[in-house]
Subunit: 80 residues, 2 copies
């Protein structure tokens, strides 16, 4: 089973990497870019576990290791 | 308009960050995790440009700055 996890900074948290990318895009001439936020995209291959066990497991992984719950949000999709 | 960009390592390219995350997940007890790949997730707010102009512009941004086309693939979604 494949799980796709998206980790993004919470709204209101400053994103210096995104700001740097925005400035680089402006210098390249893409001045219509108004804002850039950079996050993480994680793909996990996981052994076939029962769906009802998988959901809490993924939330736990995200909270313990894959994201910093103080400054980041996460969402995920499970693909068969 | 919001554009969501996903940058991932091409298949076959070694992902040491993913490997490290996999090992950490195993040490935390999630031994059913078989593989982890880590990529980037980028959200761009862009001024309302005509859709037919936006598509090539985003591809260009990805190839020039946001991804390394030699080792990375990208895909994107445009949200109104």
């Amino acid at each position: 089973m494949r799980v796709k996890i998206y980790v993004t900074l919470k709204e209101g948290i400053l994103d210096p990497q995104g700001k740097a990318v925005k400035h680089s895009l402006h210098s390249l001439g893409y001045t219509s870019v108004e804002d850039v936020r950079v996050g993480k995209y994680i793909e996990i291959e996981i052994d076939d576990t029962a769906k009802e066990k998988l959901d809490p497991q993924i939330k736990e992984m995200c909270n313990k290791l894959l994201s910093n719950p103080i400054i980041e949000d996460f969402r995920y999709e499970i693909e068969k």
